[in-house]
Amino acid sequence: AQSVTQLDSHVSVSEGTPVLLRCNYSSSYSPSLFWYVQHPNKGLQLLLKYTSAATLVKGINGFEAEFKKSETSFHLTKPSAHMSDAAEYFCVVSSWEEGGGNKLTFGTGTQLKVEL
């Protein structure tokens, strides 16, 4: 079974400083990996996805993630945090189910706090 582990449940940064949200994955084959963001009382928005093309993936709002097979990691970064980045971030792995469905397995989430 595929799984992801988010190493930090809470991350706090100052506005304008870099963001690093850590995620390790477990998969028996080359995985499809995603980062989703959830702002308070909102739905889930796709930030970026990795599907075996370039290992450095650029997403929306200045976020990017690097797939490192040797480290089984898919960490999310942003050079400079903005107050609007405060949200819950989920690392997600996809597995293909017989019958035609992509099953997304979510990590436990990392709450990002951005301080002035």
Partner: protein
């Protein structure tokens, strides 16, 4: 707007009642899903339908019954509601292609009192 829309947004009901949550997508996707987000924000898949056919059915009580009248709709009916059913329920859709993410609805916050 192209989207996944679910109704209602909020649902407060008493224990023992039966309630339904509706979901519709106009993205032309083949597959639709229901996810449950608990109070600790953990998201877990409940069901998945591909073109009206059930393909994923996780360990969910029989009180939960999904219904897909066509591939653009996936409704969730819950019988005999319990306190532990209180959660946010998200509908989502995707194409039936490996490696794709989902488009999520905005969620339905169910509170059982």
């Amino acid at each position: 707007d192209t989207a996944v829309s679910q109704t209602p947004k909020y649902l407060v009901t008493q224990m023992g009642n039966d309630k339904s949550i509706k979901c519709e997508q106009n993205l032309g996707h083949d597959t639709m899903y229901w996810y449950k987000q608990d109070s600790k924000k953990f998201l877990k898949i409940m069901f998945s339908y591909n073109n009206k056919e059930l393909i994923i059915n996780e360990t969910v009580p029989n009180r939960f019954s999904p219904k897909s009248p066509d591939k653009a709709h996936l409704n969730l009916h819950i019988n005999s509601l319990e306190l532990g059913d209180s959660a946010v329920y998200f509908c989502a859709s995707s194409q039936a292609t490996p490696g794709l993410g989902y488009t999520f609805g905005s969620g339905t916050r169910l509170t059982v009192v």
